[in-house]
């Protein structure tokens, strides 16, 4: 492979000078920083809109949170309401709201469940007890979910393409720094942090895992 010329030192005038090399270094550095900090997060998450733009504020004016987000007798938490529960009021339009129209046309009439996208959905390995937090520790919904009850519109839902997790789990800051948007982040360490503060212990594994 080697040739005679390889054995000779390359004359200095034929070599790139130090600052040129440094510029190339900088180009590589900056390009990777930009792609890593800006392009990557955008690529990693896909964005979806909720099937129906739900107005929490309008509903809260007329009823309690627990009318839709209630505890079942067995202690489990119902989460988002089912079609049947929505239907109990919205069998027929109650307003001129286009989203309500859409809801009735596409879901009530077709008897199809609304595929709500759950911002704080935990993965299957997690047992999250709403009862322990809401009933046991008297916490308010907004502590974790933000002031969603006062919102008039549902924000977009971002999903991690690799993990399938909602972006709310990791948080919107890539470094998980700063004040969390929308109430809180929901990774295990976020739970642990609060538990440590409130109960003096991060908790045992089986407290939250199944």
């Amino acid at each position: 492979m080697s040739t005679q010329s390889d054995n000779q030192p390359v004359p200095a005038e034929n070599r790139a000078s130090g600052w040129v090399i440094f510029v190339f270094f900088l180009i590589g550095l900056i390009a990777s920083l930009i792609s890593g900090w800006i392009a990557f997060p955008n690529l990693l998450y896909s964005t979806q809109q909720q099937p129906i733009d739900f107005n929490h504020k309008a509903h809260v004016a007329q009823m309690d949170c627990s009318s839709c987000h209630f505890f079942r007798d067995d202690g489990s938490f119902a989460g988002s309401p089912t079609l049947d529960e929505c239907k109990s009021c919205h069998m027929y339009p109650m307003s001129n709201d286009p989203d309500e129209q859409k809801f009735i046309e596409e879901y009530v009439k077709k008897d199809k469940e609304v595929p709500w996208l759950i911002y704080a959905e935990q993965p299957p390995c997690v047992f999250f007890s709403h009862a322990a937090h809401v009933k046991g520790a008297d916490m308010e919904c907004r502590t974790c979910h933000g002031d969603i009850g006062q919102s008039t519109s549902l924000r977009e839902y971002q999903e991690n393409r690799l993990t399938g997790y909602s972006r709310d789990i990791w948080g919107y800051s890539m470094l998980r720094l700063g004040e969390a948007k929308h109430g809180g982040r929901h990774k295990m360490n976020d739970c642990a942090e609060c538990h440590l503060k409130e109960t003096g212990s991060k908790g045992d594994c089986f407290q939250c895992h199944k």
């Binding site: 070599r15 790139a16 000078s17 090399i21 270094f25 990777s32 792609s35 067995d74």
Partner: protein, 757 residues
């Protein structure tokens, strides 16, 4: 400005340094790990509210009440229904794993028509309309040729609305050939009829019994209603109340306070020997025997002939002789008899193993005699006859039907030869195979029972089935028999359908349970009741008129109007009026008493000796020279021995010394093994007059020397990949041994040879 490869290198280094300062490697590492925690191909069950639904399991004839947890319309878990009067919350492993059958790959998903050879497994999906018209055209054709009696129906049960509809259909159509698959209760219920004059199911009040003498009944392994037996067993051990007579240390024997290892097939002799001691020592219940029994003493009939009574007969069974027959020592017999007679509320039960084989009538009569001697008939902790359902609507039939109904039955049941026997499926293959010309069955409807798996000598049965030109199966699963059919009209799974479950055999109260849909039907299946109504509808005429209901559900509700409220609310109905009748009113025999001497039986044969129970050694098929061992099937609660095969969960519980790598282990005593040059784990060939199978050897001290014990319920060839191909089917190695008195299969084993492979 010169650019060389060092510049490029520098660019790459800069990029690498930069990348480590971005979230890319770190976040990706984490996300990839999270990806492995949520692999898209690993299922994640959907959450939702739990809804519990009550129903009744019909996987066997046990009929246990179940409570099914459902989430979003999917059945999740089956648990025992705590207040159900039969099983009281207990459930056998089969019942618990029924969801595996519901959602499993062995379901028949739509009506199908055979396209290849029989049993080849080639099917074509057809519509329900086509399926029903195919069946009704075939039936109409036979009827037009005045051969309605060549249609037969095999069912797993003859009680409840579905078997009734099948019977009603055959009656309206004109065939007497409704045949129920055999069980040990065949012999017991015939004995019940002969001694008490009542048709009905037999009830053993084991929970209240103070002392249970079991003649080889696998109480812990699926005998009767498994859930009920297991639940009752909780205090068998504590209260020292179970004695098990059996040549193998079964799970029941293991739990018993005493295991009496009698030679197999000598149970009747032991029962008579015990009765001998009880009578000899005057330990019997004189009040009952003197006032409410007939044929205990010798008696003289209207013609002046003196007949031998039970007491005289028993003289022939002194302990010494019985000891010789049974291999149990005299002292044990004496003490056992005394213990039994002196116990509070003793009861003797029979029906060998899990009760798949009827056994001889003499054995049942001998055990019944023991019960009668201690006077436990219709007493707490004793034996009771539970009347059969009697709420059936009227019907009319045409002449063709009437003529057809007068034809003799194919199986010879209710004939002059076997007047008291209701069904003799075991005799059907012989009837077909020996018939000259065309098969006496031209069309066969199989509504459960999976006879091509459960019948003894399955090869011969298959040969007979080959001669039947038309076989339709209503099976829910692709079982061995469905696989051999021409057309499939799949029934809903029991978790998808309505059905009533009347008092299961063995239960001492009168109960009806309600099986009801827990989930929506998953496939294009149809309730067998509806299918029958459809077929009747397309046959027209009187047949159609006999089925005036819109659908099965309507018929069910109409039939059980009185019980419906309770059924719907609690899932069961217990007859509030049912009380075991007092002795004065209990017996509907010609003598009006409990008949030690069953006169109905003597009428059939005309011979005294045949009427009284006696011990007659059953000659097992096979040449004792060439086949020095005796093969006996054994039951295990972990292996479903019946029509429906083990779901995978149950097979998972079966241990490595029962089945390994597709081969079944047969148990033999180490002493026998030594004699035959066999050792633990050896591969061997087990040969019987019916066939042979490759097996492996498991040495078990708890088995009587000279015997080979093989688990029943393995060796399925159909259902699914998860079920088929595990071991060998013991039924295929057995043959029918006709009991001369009843025609029932009295075979408890077969001669066999075991040679190292």
């Amino acid at each position: 400005m010169k650019i060389d490869r060092r510049c490029f290198l520098s660019l790459v280094i800069g990029g690498a340094v930069g990348t480590t300062l971005t979230p890319v490697p770190w976040k990706l590492t984490d996300d990839i790990a999270i990806w492995t925690q949520n692999w898209p191909w690993t299922p994640s069950p959907e959450k939702g509210p739990s809804v519990y639904k009550k129903s009744v399991c019909t996987l066997c004839n046990g009929g246990c009440g179940i409570n099914v947890r459902t989430v979003k319309g999917q059945a999740k878990k089956i648990e025992g229904q705590a207040d159900y009067p039969v099983n009281r919350g207990s459930l056998c492993p089969m019942g618990i794993s029924a969801t595996q059958h519901l959602y499993g790959p062995s379901r028949i998903q739509s009506p199908m028509k055979r396209t290849g050879e029989r049993g080849q497994g080639k099917w074509e999906k057809i519509s329900w309309a086509e399926a029903i018209s195919t069946v009704s055209e075939k039936l109409a054709e036979l009827r037009s040729r005045k051969k309605p009696h060549t249609v037969a129906c095999i069912a797993e049960s003859d009680r409840g609305t579905v078997p009734y509809l099948l019977q009603r259909f055959l009656t309206a159509y004109g065939s007497p050939n409704f045949i129920r698959t055999p069980s040990s209760f065949d012999a017991q219920e015939q004995a019940l009829y002969l001694t008490q004059g009542r048709h009905g199911t037999i009830g053993y009040d084991l929970e209240n019994a103070g002392f249970i003498l079991s003649f080889g009944s696998a109480l812990m392994d699926a005998w009767g209603t498994a859930g009920q037996m297991l639940s009752a067993s909780a205090d068998f051990k504590q209260k020292n109340k179970l004695i098990q007579v059996e040549p193998r240390l079964s799970d029941t024997a293991a739990l018993a306070s005493q295991w009496v290892a009698a030679k197999p097939g000598t149970e009747a002799a032991l029962a008579l020997g015990l009765a001998h001691v009880i009578v000899r020592d005057n330990l019997y219940n004189k009040e009952f025997v003197d006032n409410y029994a007939f044929g205990f003493e010798d008696w003289e009939d209207e013609n002046g002939t003196v007949h031998q009574g039970c007491k005289s007969l028993l003289k022939q069974y002194p302990p010494k002789k019985v000891a010789g027959i049974t291999g149990i020592d005299k002292g044990t017999i004496e003490s056992l008899a005394r213990k039994f007679a002196r116990a509070k509320r003793p009861v003797a039960i029979c029906g060998r193993g899990s009760g798949m084989v009827p056994g001889g009538l003499d054995e049942a009569l001998a055990v019944f005699a023991l019960n009668a001697l201690v006077g436990n008939i219709n007493q707490p902790g004793g034996v009771t006859a539970i009347p059969e359902p009697d709420y059936w609507p009227e019907m009319q039939r045409d002449k063709t039907a009437s003529n057809g109904m007068q034809q003799p039955r194919v199986d010879g049941a209710e004939s002059d030869r076997f007047p008291n026997t209701r069904y003799l499926l075991n005799r059907v293959p012989e009837a077909i195979n020996s018939a000259k010309g065309e098969s006496p069955i031209q069309a066969l409807l199989v509504a459960g029972g999976n006879p091509l798996y459960t019948m003894a000598d399955t090869e011969t049965a298959k040969k007979a089935f080959d001669k039947i030109p038309f076989i339709a199966s209503f099976s829910t699963y692709m079982d061995e028999t469905a696989q051999y059919a021409d057309i499939l009209l799949p029934n809903h799974h029991f978790l998808e359908r309505f059905e009533d479950v009347p008092t299961p055999a063995g239960t001492p109260t009168r109960v009806i349970g309600l099986t009801r849909p827990v989930v929506e039907p998953r496939h294009d299946t149809r309730h067998i009741g509806d299918t029958l109504i459809n077929i009747a509808g397309s046959l027209g005429g009187f047949i159609e008129n006999a089925f005036p209901w819109e659908n099965y559900e309507a018929f069910l509700k109409q039939t059980l109007t009185k019980q419906w409220d309770s059924l719907e609310k609690q899932g069961y109905w217990v007859d509030p009026e049912f009380m075991p009748p007092a002795w004065e009113k209990a017996f509907q025999t010609p003598s009006g008493k409990y008949e030690f001497y069953p006169s109905q039986r003597s009428k059939a044969s005309g011979k005294d000796a045949d009427a009284l129970p006696g011990f007659r050694q059953v000659e097992l098929p096979g040449d004792p020279e060439k086949m020095p061992l005796t093969l006996m099937p054994y039951a295990s609660a972990r292996i479903a021995g019946g029509a429906v095969a083990n779901p995978p969960f149950m097979t998972k519980t079966v241990d490595t010394d029962v089945i390994k790598d597709g081969a079944v282990f047969v148990e033999i005593n180490p002493q026998t093994a030594k004699k035959h040059g066999l050792s633990e784990g050896d591969a061997a060939v087990l040969k019987t007059p019916a066939g042979k199978a490759r097996v492996r050897i498991h040495l078990f001290e708890g088995l009587m020397p000279g015997l080979v014990a093989m688990p029943a319920g393995l060796g399925h060839t159909a259902f699914s990949d998860y079920i088929a191909g595990k071991g060998a089917n013991v039924n295929a190695l057995l043959t029918d041994v006709t009991d001369p008195g009843s025609g029932l299969n009295a075979g408890w084993g077969i001669r066999a040879s075991l040679v190292k492979a």
